[in-house]
Amino acid sequence: MATWTWFHRFGSPPWVYGFAARWAPWFGGAAVLAMLVALYGGLVLAPPDYQQKDAFRIVYIHAPSATMSMAVYSTMAVAAAVGLIWRMKVAHAAAAACAPIGAWFTVATLGTGMLWGKPMWGAYWVWDPRLTSELVLLFLYLGYMGLRAGIEDPQKADKASAVLAIVGVVNLPIIHYSVTWWNSLHQPPSRLIGEADMDWSMVWPLLVMFLAFFLYFGWVLLIRLRAELLRRERNASWIREVLA
């Protein structure tokens, strides 16, 4: 039953507001630390790739961005489902807060992919499966945010976008599979870089960077969540007490 109390607390906007305020700086500090370590390891310590020379170093931004873009969508869908099933306002607020973060991760993936494409293949854009999937993912994010913006009533917007997020998360693997399949028909598989090609000195900074991006997501999410809660609960009495 202790688990339920813990879960219940997450349903209370004032409690979550305080929780986010306390924990955000820790996430932020840890994220910056991890990022510095990873950047030092990746940019300074790791040797240049024998094929791509220094261009491969883009992977330190590209790969974690890609992973986070999908992880954030899953988080958003889970939060939306929790909001829908248990009717928790905070969960809906969390889903709303996730969307722009995930969209930016997707843009970062696409942008770094394009920057990498130029030295790799001589072109800024190639229709490789990873990039194409990311592009469709970006459209899914934009659609989610567009639906939220298009519905006036906030409770309706929460619920409708929750259904969309869940439908999207079910569709994501299917979309990814179809894009990979489509790509394999027309050209040989081209991965930008694979773990097998990298030796340990290149890999560990990447792993730390994954951690750093995850912590960064946590930090920004907590900040955005506080802003969301402030906006949604602006007429509630607890807000006045907190701001006093």
Binding site: R87, E152, D153, P154, Q155, N235
Partner: protein, 207 residues
């Protein structure tokens, strides 16, 4: 049979329903009064299950209405501001489809209901050619045919002439006499025989 307790509902920032509670037993009519915007339509829709209240409960026959939604709906007839009719179908066809998906209904029953509400003369014209009052008469025939115990009516006399208003009052009285419950939002008083009549003024409910 119908128990509404502590209903709170927000539409955006507006606290529309502020702790509405009432009970209704068989053979009772609850009239909802109040100025525009007091929340009469919102309350009716919340009871019907079309809106989800943030707090509070609606219980039907002792069980949560939301929990037993399909059973609750099969005993409910809801009539909103607009008559829910397809413009390209005739009144008769509309009833055939709308009631048919609820329960098996014979043409004779449809005829009888249309006669009761004086909608027979125009029952076979496309609904989009009918006046608002004529559409309402067809819709009222639909309420009769639904065979529901609970009627939720939102301003049922809109667009009706004096005869029509008397008809609505009579239909409600008959429904109550059958042991049904009627919850109706009204602007002016319906001319109903006193007795099992309760009035709930939504303007009066404080925050």
């Amino acid at each position: 049979m119908l128990k509404v307790s502590g209903l709170h509902l927000w539409r955006g920032d507006r606290h529309v329903l502020r702790g509405v509670s009432f009970d209704a037993v068989a053979g009772q009519c609850v009239l909802l009064t109040g100025r525009n915007g007091a929340g009469k339509t919102t309350l009716l829709r919340a009871i019907a299950g079309l809106l989800d209240p943030e707090q509070g409960e609606v219980n039907w026959r002792g069980v949560s209405a939301r929990g037993s939604r399909d059973e609750f709906h099969s005993e409910l007839a809801y009539l909103g501001h607009e008559a829910p009719l397809k413009g390209d179908l005739t009144g008769r066809e509309n009833l055939h489809f709308a009631i048919g998906i609820r329960r098996a209904v014979t043409p004779a029953e449809i005829d009888a209901a249309l006669t009761r509400t004086n909608a027979q003369p125009f029952a076979d014209r496309a609904v989009r050619t009918l006046s608002a009052g004529q559409r309402r008469r067809v819709a009222l025939a639909g309420v009769l045919l639904a065979g529901a115990v609970l009627w939720l009516l939102d301003e049922p006399t809109t667009n009706l002439d004096a005869d029509g208003k008397k008809l609505v009052a009579t239909l409600i009285e008959e429904q109550i006499a059958r042991g049904g419950i009627v919850v109706a939002a009204v602007h002016q008083d319906l001319d109903l025989a006193a007795g099992r009549l309760v009035t709930l003024d939504l303007s009066g409910i404080a925050a």
